[in-house]
Point group: C2
């Protein structure tokens, strides 16, 4: 997505060869117009999938996922993330390890909002090691719902998460795929490959 | 806001005389169309205020605040909430006590996104004891920015937060003001008073 790549080049801050900070337009301060465009783009890429629910993870996934859900005309669910969680029979959970924070969180979704008739589009802001995506897949699978695809705002294609998620066989669409952050420079993959 | 009140009557779950659960359309599963309407309504109520930023608190405030920011044509900032936080000179913080969870969190906003030229509209999903609202006011005040008003989705008008926030002198607008949850019934204040 051209406008997103331009914005990353303009306002993204490369903190290291592995870390890109986009807190001026995506995950702390948020540009609503850009989020709206992303929602339209995700809708375009998945519109033939008969999606019934969009699922994301609090908090940074909510903005792009909300516009995606609006465009698809379906509800959004945001999974809750907690360091520890009291087990409860009414919730579906998965453990997600964050390499950045070096800690494990439990993500949860109420059982009442996902069932076997649902076709779920998973949306997240970043794809790095794929752990959040795999956790969301686990939650949907536990609900016996089906997964219609996975939409990612920014994929760090030099890390292994993209491969992990594509190996599941689901359609994975990333709006910007970064091939390298070396020399404090953001490089994108030539093509946004659809698998 | 009529459609919101109708939705609360239909889908809100009264858990006790003090607790209303709206996780089917606002703070876990989210209805994007209703959020869009809320954004339009908040914009209408504050549109003459020359707002430059909308500020909310993760996670449940993000959806209504995002559409408000879209309609006002300004960026959204969502404050981060943590149980503990390493002090850092680049962030503005406030302590917020939650009566529901009986714990204190630190909310934070990066200094670089709020400054003395900003006119900030604060948006939050619930107003009960007013602690989150006061925390957000504190953050804006520390940035030397000015506060243009406070928009609340659901106010529990039988608790003291509304009075606390209105006593600050700022314009407080709630889309639905609940006068009572007694006998498992949601009652609204007759008028949505603008102060």
């Amino acid at each position: 997505m051209h406008s997103l790549k331009t914005r990353i080049q303009q306002d993204g801050i490369v903190l290291s060869d592995e870390v890109l900070k986009v807190d001026s337009f995506l995950n702390h301060q948020v540009d609503p117009e850009l989020m709206k465009e992303m929602g339209e783009e995700f809708c375009r890429r998945f519109q033939d999938k008969k999606i019934t629910k969009v699922l994301t993870l609090e908090s940074s996934g909510i903005a792009p996922a909300l516009f995606t859900a609006l465009n698809l005309g379906v509800p959004l669910i945001f999974a809750r993330k907690r360091k520890s969680l009291t087990l409860n029979e009414d919730i579906l959970t998965a453990e997600v390890y964050s390499f950045t924070k070096q800690e494990t969180s439990t993500i949860s979704v109420s059982k009442k909002f996902l069932n076997q008739d649902d076709h779920v589009l998973i949306i997240d802001d970043f794809l790095a090691n794929g752990q959040a995506g795999l956790g969301l897949i686990e939650v949907v699978t536990k609900a016996k719902a089906s997964i219609s695809g996975i939409g990612i705002v920014i994929e760090k294609a030099f890390q292994n998460g993209g491969e992990l998620l594509r190996d599941t066989g689901y359609q994975v669409e990333s709006l910007a795929r970064i091939s390298s952050l070396e020399n404090s420079t953001v490089s994108f993959l030539e093509e946004e490959v659809t698998v």
